[in-house]
Structure formats: C-alpha cells, structure tokens
Symmetry: C2
Subunit: 479 residues, 2 copies
Amino acid sequence: MAEKKKLVSEITSMDVDFAQWYTDIVKKAEMADYSSVKGCIIMRPYAQALWENIQHTLDGMFKETGHENVAMPIFIPESLLQKEADHVEGFAPECAWVTHGGNDKLEERLCVRPTSETLFCEHYAKIVRSWRDLPKLYNQWCSVVRWEKTTRPFLRSREFWWQEGHTVHATAEEAMEETLRMLNIYAKFFEEWLAIPVVKGEKTEKERFAGAENTYTIEAMMHDCKALQSGTSHYFGDGFARAFGMQYTDKNNTLQYMYQTSWGVSTRIIGAIIMTHGDNEGLVLPPRIAPTQLVVIPVAAHKEGVKEKATELYEQVKAAGIRAKIDLSDNTPGWKFAEYEMKGIPLRLEVGPRDIAEGQCVLVRRDTREKTVVKFEDLEKTIPALLEDIQKSLYEKALANREAHTYTAKSLDEMKSILAEHTGFIKSMWCGDLACEEKIKEETGMPSRCMPFEQEHIADTCPVCGKPANKMVVWGIAY
Amino acid sequence: MAEKKKLVSEITSMDVDFAQWYTDIVKKAEMADYSSVKGCIIMRPYAQALWENIQHTLDGMFKETGHENVAMPIFIPESLLQKEADHVEGFAPECAWVTHGGNDKLEERLCVRPTSETLFCEHYAKIVRSWRDLPKLYNQWCSVVRWEKTTRPFLRSREFWWQEGHTVHATAEEAMEETLRMLNIYAKFFEEWLAIPVVKGEKTEKERFAGAENTYTIEAMMHDCKALQSGTSHYFGDGFARAFGMQYTDKNNTLQYMYQTSWGVSTRIIGAIIMTHGDNEGLVLPPRIAPTQLVVIPVAAHKEGVKEKATELYEQVKAAGIRAKIDLSDNTPGWKFAEYEMKGIPLRLEVGPRDIAEGQCVLVRRDTREKTVVKFEDLEKTIPALLEDIQKSLYEKALANREAHTYTAKSLDEMKSILAEHTGFIKSMWCGDLACEEKIKEETGMPSRCMPFEQEHIADTCPVCGKPANKMVVWGIAY
C-alpha cells in the first residue's frame, strides 16, 4: 500500500486547509488545469465527461418542458449592452473588450458575452410579431466571460461554461410561472441527481441580477459550511422589453410589451459536487451523474484466469447498463484503489483467484468503504441497488450537515456569537430595509443568501433595527 | 392553395440566382438570422436541432474510436500564437483581439481562438511525460472566430461552431494513421448520414493548413456544381512539438518529440446539406439526420374524429421510434404542406375523414412528392422503409449530379473550353510544380481541390508545362 500512501499524501486534509484540499482534488483527480491565459481553466476529460452528463440530463428536462436550443453570437456591440441601464452598470466593469479585427481597429468595441440578455432581446424584438408567436422558450449552452480579479477553478473563473435560458411571454403571470418552473427544475436536478439539498428562495433587492425585477435562487451548503449559490432564475417583467422595443400585437390587435425571464446554471455545479461530497481521499461522485459508476480491478492479476474473469464480469456489468470501466494495467491493486478513490468512482469491483474459486467478487463503496461479497450471478441485482443506496446516503449526509450547521438568531449580537464558534447558515427575521441588510453584512461578513419559500417565524422584529419584521432571511458566507 | 403560392413565391428559383435561393432558404426555413454583430449569425432552433443531431452522431463515432472531449480556453495570448511561424502567419491577419479586461488595458493582447492548436500544444507539453501517457486523443466542440471580410450564413461567418480534434502520438506512423482514420470517419458520416458523396484526397502544399505537413480533405459538389471543402484532417509531424517543446521519454528512457494531428468539421455541414439536397420549395433533409422525420397533418380537421385519429397515429408513429411531430394548428392544410416542405421534413402523413373510414392514410415524400397509401397497421413497417429509400435516393441523386459534372482535361485550353460551358470538377494530371498550379488558378479561376486517393491516369504530362506528371488533381471553383 506504499503507492496509496504516496498518492493520498499529496492531498491536503480538508480539516487543515479546505481551500487547499479543494485545489488538490481539482488537480489530482484531473478535473482542471491552468492555461497560460490568466484566470481561464482547461476543463480536462474527466470534468468534461461529468459536465456532459449534467448537460444531457438538464437538457432533457428543458426539452420536456418545451424549450428549444439556439446559438447566439459570442460578441455584443457596446451600444447594445448599454440599452438597459442597470444591466450595463452590472456587467460593463467585467467585460473583455475586442477592439481589433485582424489589423483593423473596429468602429465599435465588442464585448465577449458575459451573459446574453441583450442579444436575445434584440432577436425577440425582431422575430415576435403577434400573440401567436408567444411564448418563445429558448436556451443556449455556451461559455461566457467575466473579467474577475480573483479566480478559482469551477467556482469563479474568467471563462465558464453554462446554459442560459431566455424566454418571452404574453403576460406577467406566464413569465412568473416560467421563472419558478425553471427554479424548481434546478432544485429537482440538484436534489435527485447531484444528491445536494438546496434552499429555494428569493434574493433580496440588493442581491438581484442586474436588470431583474425578482431573482430566485437555490443555495447549497458546502462541507465547510459556506454557501454556494448554485442556480438562479430571473423575472424581468417588461423592463428589458421597454428598453429594447419588444412588442407584440395581442388578440385585440393592440400593441403590448413582452414579459421576460432568464435562468442559468454553470460549471460551478462541478465545484458544488466536489465540496459537498468529496473527502480526504478525493472526489466522491453521486452515482446518477458519475461518468463511471463502477471500476473492475483484478487482484493477483498475473494468476491464471484472473484477467479473463475480470473482463467477463466487466462485460456482464456493462451489458446490465452500468457505466463501467476495467483497469488491466500493470499498476498494483493498491495504486488502482487509490487512483479510483481519488476519481470518486462510486463502486469498485475486486476479483481475485480465491473469489473466482468461490464464484464471487467484492464490491467496495467509495462513500463508506463498506464491502459486500456478491455471487457473480447476483451482480445485475446488487449493483443498481448499491448505487441507489449510495445516492441516497450522499443526499442524507449532505442534508444532515446542513441541518447541523443551520442556526437561528433573534439579534445581531446572537448572530455574532454564533459566528464566533461556527460557520453555517443563520436564519433571522428582516424588516426589509437595505440599511439593516448592509449592517448585518458589515458586522458579520454574511450577505443574505435568500428569503426562503419555506418561511418560519423566528421572532417578531428585525435583529438590527428592532422594527416589526415578517420576512425570514437565510444569511451565510458564500463562495 | 393560395397560401402555398405566397410562401413559395418568396424563394428565388435556384436556376435564376443560386446565391439568392440559398439565402432565401436559410431565412424562410428559419435556419439562421443576422445579429447586430456584423458577420456573426444566430443559429435558430431548427438549425441548432440539426447541428445537435450532427454533433451527437459524430461525437459517438469519436468516442467509439477512443477520443475524449475537453474544453480549452476561448483566448490565446499573442505570444503563444506566435510560437509556430507558419501558423501565426496563417491566422494572425484574421484574429479578433481582446485588449481590455473591464477598464484595464491588458499587458498582452489575447486573440479569440481561430483554432486551438497552440493551446493543445501547451497543454500536452505539460501533461505528457512518458510513452505511457500516449496517445492523447482529445476533441472539443466550441465556436471559433475568424475576422472574414465577406460572410454567408453557415458557409463563412466570423464566428462558427465546430469540433476540433487534437491528438499526440509516440510515432509518425501512429499520427498518420490517426489523420487518415478521422478523414475516413468524416467521409463515412457524409456519405451514410448526410447522403453527400465526397472525394477523399490530399491537399497540395499550396492549400495546406497553416503549419501542417499534410492536409487531407473531403470535397463535396453542391447543386450549382461548385465545390465545398467539407472536412479536413491534418498531419503535423513533429513541427509544433519542436516549436512548443512537446517531448516524452520513450521505453529506452530517451527524450523524443511527439507527433501530432488535428481535424475538424463545422456548421458548414449545414450549408452543404442545404446546397446538396434543397430544391425550389425549400430544404430537403436526409432522414437519418433530420430533427423531424415525419409530420402528421390532419385534413378537414374540423370534421369529427379527425384530430383525434391524427393524434393517435402520431403517437403510434412516435412509439415506433420515428422522430415525428403533429400540426393541429388552425392553419389550412395547404399552408402546412408548404411550411413543412420548406423545412425539408422527409415525410408527410395526411389523414382525413375518408381515409379514416377506409383505415388508411397517405404518406408523401418530400424529395419526389410520391404518394403512398398505407393501412394504419402497416405504418411501423412502411415508414422506416420509405425513410431508408429517401436516404438512398438523395445520395444517388447527389452522386449522379457529381458524375454528370466531372470532366477530364489534358491541357489548359481544354480546361478553359470546358469551363466556358460548364461548372464542375475537372480532373487533370499535375507535375507537382507550384507555378503550374498557380497558372491554372489564374487562368481558369479554379484552385486545386485535392489529389484524390483514387487516382486515374488521364495523360502522361502536366497540362501546363508539358513535363511528365503522375499525380491526378481535381480542380474546381469552391465556396
């Protein structure tokens, strides 16, 4: 087991330095690499395979609910970005600007899209004429660029990959319904596919997307008890429609403005998976989304018939619809165990000469290390059951972590004393006043995460100003 | 049928003006729209759905042959682009340059990737250490930017979507094998999936990719008998490896340079489909790649039971694995017929009250307009057979067009006299001298398309200089 020790020893323990633990996993599990472009990452094959599973699943959910994919240009002319005042104020400071095409200076600067509301607005203004053309439910998968100062792989980088849905509707009600429908799809995807529990809620005005009337969010808690904003869905009302002249004729032949939404999740999801489920041996991937669900490793592979039997079991498992791989390389079993633990593969199937003699093999869970001896003929039944159990355990463990680190407070002092000893979510009432929100952030370092849909009555008054308060807010330090 | 006339009349006949016919189809079939960014298009849902089918099919072929997807940064620092002399000379004149991030001027300009050889080289130099790490077979799906002066949707635009494969190998032989393997995959995909026959061959030195030792190509002939370079595969030898210091230790513990390939196809494929199969009523899509293979249209839909039966048949057909849709809108059947002909849907299923009484419906082929009356219970058998037949017919028709417009010439004068009356491919011998190639281009307007793998002996001498020539070249005016 010398090799195992060597490999694992290169990961910093998460209790010693969580940030370094994260960076070590990203590197050692071969998820991402740095490029010579500062702040931009290379998404390596293993992360890309995970992202493709995420894309495939979400894309199916989008299409089932009537959405169509499009591809918008990568550039936005400066004048187009400027059409909606709040929006340009929010994004212009972090745009990458193209000023030259070949040897010629451009007449107008183009920004590399940080988000594509303005492009969709322009397109919708052109293609929607009457109520018959509505709704338009478009989405695109692409990368976007935001010139961030401080970057971390998957969590915050100058380029990141995402999907951005942009829809227009005849009425405010329909647009609001869409905004919440997509938030619910995100929540379902996080909880059922990624095994990550989320708090659904609305952002305060201060934390809204630039140009939105309402922003809804799903917030997850990481291992270190910090929050990760994991997906957002925005309701724009007719604000952009007015700025971009997006009108249609209704059934009474009257010109009306369209109502609009946008919603997105990004490769941050990969960061969320790492920081929710990972441990000191590496990644732990939820079986439903893992590129490889099971790896077959022959033990004493030089002995007669071992490689052959391992291959046979691999074929048997694959034929049962399990995403499997086999490692027949010359590396030692110990090295392989460590390698696939690092990669977070949910199940390992070990088979050696004695197992073969007894018609059985050993399944080892990545999450608990629990071993199950299984007869060859039971593999098709046992593996899916184990994978489902791992999926469920991961969710429960993450939920337990969140519940153990969610606190309630009735005063600012109480907040501070909780934070003196713990990191986590703090629930409190809030009067709705920006000044009180800013004061909490200033004194505790915690921005508001959201006003959860599931409200609780914690107190009668705002913890800052003491005035009557009927909104519960979740606060937390965030990535 | 008044509506049909109106819709179709908006398409220019391809015999009157082929370029305008193309533009009309792109617009009327809702494939693409222009954006406010000059030279960049919006890929609308119908084209995007077609592109997703293309991606899905090709991606499967790539993965079956051991390739993995990655995502490289969107930007290339100017100094990195400059590392390989031929490459920078080829691409720098058409780069879009980012000079500012937010309000700050960048220390070094970044170009928006026109192609990613340099990024892959830098990454491979870093991650490949020993012969055990080879080969690396990476691909990415992304968009790239080239600052073209004249643009046309799908054929040449400033941003286009593509895949770029980049591989590194231990030996020259393996790299050359990969180069040709991928060319063959492209050819198979074009012929079997897109029903487009291609000429496979090698580019002359003049037409090579910037920095390549050999470039291989598939060339297709469009309706108007012009050529479309449809996919290329490049062998780099160790040229980039030397420029980028890409070395590995071989089995004898000696440092060696890697050998490299790259290969790509783009959304040009959509242009190829339009210009190979389309007609004066609109698009004609090959069934294997069409987003929708069959559309169900009820006739006299207001009559009792018609919509219900149409819906039932639609469900029946979908359950049989056909990609189907149904149009239950209030538009007239005539309008719908024209609409789905414009969209190139391979089969139309019409069903009216009299059909229902007789337990049958009518299938109409998009390509030949041929009608087949089918009993409801035979649909599962008849539709796949018809789709296969359409696929085959489209290929044969395209092949016949190419064969009818491929000529041979023994002299420059003969070339000119053919071109005086015809457009098409001209096959001739060539001595291998750049001057003769340039003379042919200058005097006839035809660049060389390729030196086909299937060589013929047309003459003993070069048509220009009269010296001995043993290479056959195909020449043609190209998009």
